[in-house]
């Protein structure tokens, strides 16, 4: 059955289905119960599933993730919400030294199937700490899986795939796309959450984007067509692991690659993709892999964020550089 819904509502529906089907699952976070979360992603779930399964937690990110780890050790599958990207850092210790390593430290005896939902990214005109993209800081830690849906259908299925995974999964939710409507097929599962997807086939160059920038990449591809350039767009979907096979296959065909993300370019996911693709498809490349990302600065004040964020023009400029090489 196909239904039109916003990306946020698709996540709500996915969470609802998880709570329906797995009695060991539960949601926890700040303001996620009565209020339904600051973005209303959990709206209505407390009424249906009760306050023992949709838990309004005290303020304390380390406490939220840390108690989720404890629940997982007792056989529960908590899905926790961090209210904003910039507020995850009090939980950084729990996520990187505890959650990520539980399976390895216990020699595979213990699993910690915790899902951490984090609304992320900018472009919403907000104040500081509300527009960040910290995914690379987590991608560097082995033991975690990181995914980010870009559309409602993926959002509905990927949250469920994350919940079903025995490893800890961070789901970065593109907050400026929460209200993006799309068709959700609630019967046909999306592709494996840890695979990339070619969302627009093309022949001349490849743009890899994820989360909030996928619609931008698609729009840039449309614009490039006016210049006679047929651009392939890949929605990365999974930041850890990265599906290098899909990207390699694309680059072997197109010969040119642009990677874009809102996070700063330096030390970002784009650098990792550039290095791997250079190793895997060196002889197919017609130009160096280019990155279009944020500058090496704290996320800027919102009045000038449009100059910081990757947009259609920046992607077209990068394509020009690639083709001119």
């Amino acid at each position: 059955m196909t239904t039109t819904m916003t990306l946020a509502k698709a996540i709500t529906s996915g969470l609802d289905k998880i709570l329906d089907t797995n009695d060991k699952s539960l949601l926890m976070g700040e303001d996620i119960g009565r209020l339904g979360g600051v973005y209303r992603v959990t709206d209505g779930l407390i009424d249906k599933h009760g306050s023992h399964r949709v838990i309004d937690s005290p303020l304390g990110e380390a406490g939220i993730v840390g108690t989720a780890v404890g629940m997982a050790l007792r056989g529960y599958s908590p899905i926790v919400e961090i209210q904003f990207d910039g507020f995850v850092f009090p939980a950084f210790n729990q996520i990187t030294t505890q959650l990520a390593k539980m399976h390895a430290r216990s020699e595979g005896r213990l699993t910690a199937p915790v899902v951490i939902r984090i609304p992320y990214g900018g472009g919403i005109g907000s104040i500081e700490h509300h527009s960040e993209s910290p995914e690379a800081l987590f991608a560097h830690t082995a033991g975690l899986r990181i995914i980010t849906p870009s559309n409602a259908h993926d959002a509905y299925w990927m949250i469920q795939q994350a919940a079903a995974c025995q490893d800890p999964v961070i789901v970065f939710e593109p907050k400026r796309r929460y209200w993006l409507k799309g068709e959700v097929d609630t019967e046909t599962p999306a592709l494996d959450a840890f695979k990339a997807q070619v969302v627009r086939p093309g022949t001349d160059a490849t743009i890899v984007a994820y989360g909030p920038l996928v619609p931008i990449a698609l729009a840039a591809a449309d614009a490039a067509l006016e210049d006679g350039r047929n651009i392939e767009v890949i929605d990365l979907r999974s930041i850890s692991p990265i599906d290098f096979d899909t990207i390699t296959e694309s680059v072997q065909k197109t010969g040119r690659l642009i990677v874009t993300h809102e996070a700063p370019t330096f030390g970002g996911i784009g650098g990792e993709i550039a290095a791997r693709i250079t190793e895997r498809a060196f002889l197919s490349l017609e130009a160096p892999v280019l990155r279009v990302g944020g500058f090496h600065m704290p996320y800027p004040i919102s009045k000038v964020e449009s100059q910081y964020l990757p947009d259609i023009d920046k992607l077209l400029e990068a394509l020009d550089r690639s083709f001119a090489y």
Binding site: G63, P78, P241
Partner: protein, 380 residues
């Protein structure tokens, strides 16, 4: 029922066995010692003596280069044996990294425990077997785990009445020290446990030093005073008195198990040795202070009590020394014999489910290593 302490003083310290081995009655806690007979008392001494001997052997192994590090517990045996013996098998224990005595009470193999310190395991034992979690090296990181585990127990036991919970339910013991008492995660854990009424006994061994920093830098008031701020009962107990610790912990576990929420215990003790084998206490504390604590040794006071009440004879101690030496020899033998797992195992343990990057890097690693084998064959 013990009141929540607001201004704990020396006189609030629960003590049943004095440093000179005299047993006093206690109006609240004697009720929790009714089953403690002569055999059990001898058992507590034996537990403490075996733990001390193990600690000594592990320290020696580290000095001989066989362990990367050791974390001595000498002086804290009563706090650990008393609290550990108060638990039931279905209670779950979150230790720090110094709870070797508690491990003994949970039947965790001393030999297995050395795998972590010998650098051949990230954990060392199966936490599910004895409900004794892995050691946590990141100070206080285990504290929110304990609260979450307790919250999960509440969900499991939802709808049980107090009587059923007390009989069949289980609780969590979160061990921590005066050092980790100041970490934010300790605070958050206590907030969560109290807000959700989780059955957690917070057991602090205040051994007076966070490596080199004395307790007064961690807190201006006795640690137990913090309990009232979270809304839970707090008890300050002589941590070198195995009977007092046993009684207080039994009371606390009963309180937690029956659904009344968490409890904070501050066991006042003293680390007679170094923080770890990398530490040098002579740089930060006076030998005069160590001399003051020496007569409060938990083993000495129980020995005095046992001897004065003619519950033991010399043969008991002679046999115990033989048993402890045999245990130490076995532990040493086991430690030296543990095989070193290949790095391949580390690849396999990062994730629970298949992961392409792990597979790719493992394949590269195997091919690289095989290259050396081929080269060696070629030379022959």
């Amino acid at each position: 029922m013990t009141r929540a302490a607001t201004e704990a003083t020396e006189s609030d310290l629960v003590q049943i066995l004095t440093p000179d081995g005299q047993r006093h009655s206690h109006e609240t806690y004697d009720a929790y010692l009714g089953d403690v007979d002569d055999e059990m008392l001898r058992g507590f001494y034996r537990d403490m003596a075996l733990t001390r001997r193990f600690d000594q052997e592990a320290t020696a192994l580290q000095r001989q280069g066989q362990l990367a590090l050791w974390v001595p517990l000498r002086g804290q045996e009563a706090a650990q044996i008393g609290s550990g013996r108060a638990t039931r098998p279905n209670d779950y224990i979150f230790p720090t990294y110094r709870e070797h005595g508690v491990a003994l009470t949970r039947d965790v193999s001393f030999s297995e425990m050395l795998r972590l310190f010998r650098g051949i395991s990230g954990g060392g034992w199966d936490p599910r077997e004895n409900n004794f979690h892995m050691y946590t090296m990141v100070l206080a990181a285990q504290m929110p785990h304990a609260a979450g585990y307790g919250m999960a127990l509440n969900m499991e036991q939802h709808g049980w009445d107090e009587e059923r919970r007390a009989a069949e339910g289980n609780a969590v013991v979160a061990y921590f020290g005066d050092g980790s008492s100041t970490e934010g995660e300790t605070h958050e854990s206590m907030v969560f446990a109290n807000s959700f009424n989780a059955p957690v006994v917070y057991f602090c061994q205040n051994n007076q030093y966070a490596i080199s920093v004395p307790f007064e830098v961690q807190s201006k008031v006795p640690l137990v005073n913090r309990a009232v701020g979270y809304g839970m009962p707090g008890v300050r107990v002589d941590g070198n008195d195995v009977l007092a610790v046993l009684a207080v912990t039994r009371w606390a576990l009963e309180h937690a198990r029956s659904g009344k929420g968490p409890v904070l215990i501050e066991a006042v003790t003293y680390r007679l040795g170094a923080h770890t084998t990398a530490d040098d206490p002579t740089k930060y504390r006076m030998s005069e202070e160590e001399k003051q604590w020496a007569p409060k040794d938990p083993l000495v006071r129980l020995e005095t009590y046992l001897r004065e009440n003619k519950l033991v004879d010399d043969a008991f101690f002679e046999q115990l020394v033989l048993d402890a030496d045999a245990m130490a020899a076995k532990v040493r033998e086991d430690a030296m014999a543990f095989p070193v797992p290949p790095l391949v195992k580390s690849f396999e343990q990062v994730y629970a489910e298949a992961h392409p990057l792990i597979q790719e890097e493992l394949a590269w690693h195997l091919e690289y290593e095989a290259g050396f084998a081929d080269a060696a064959e070629g030379e022959q």
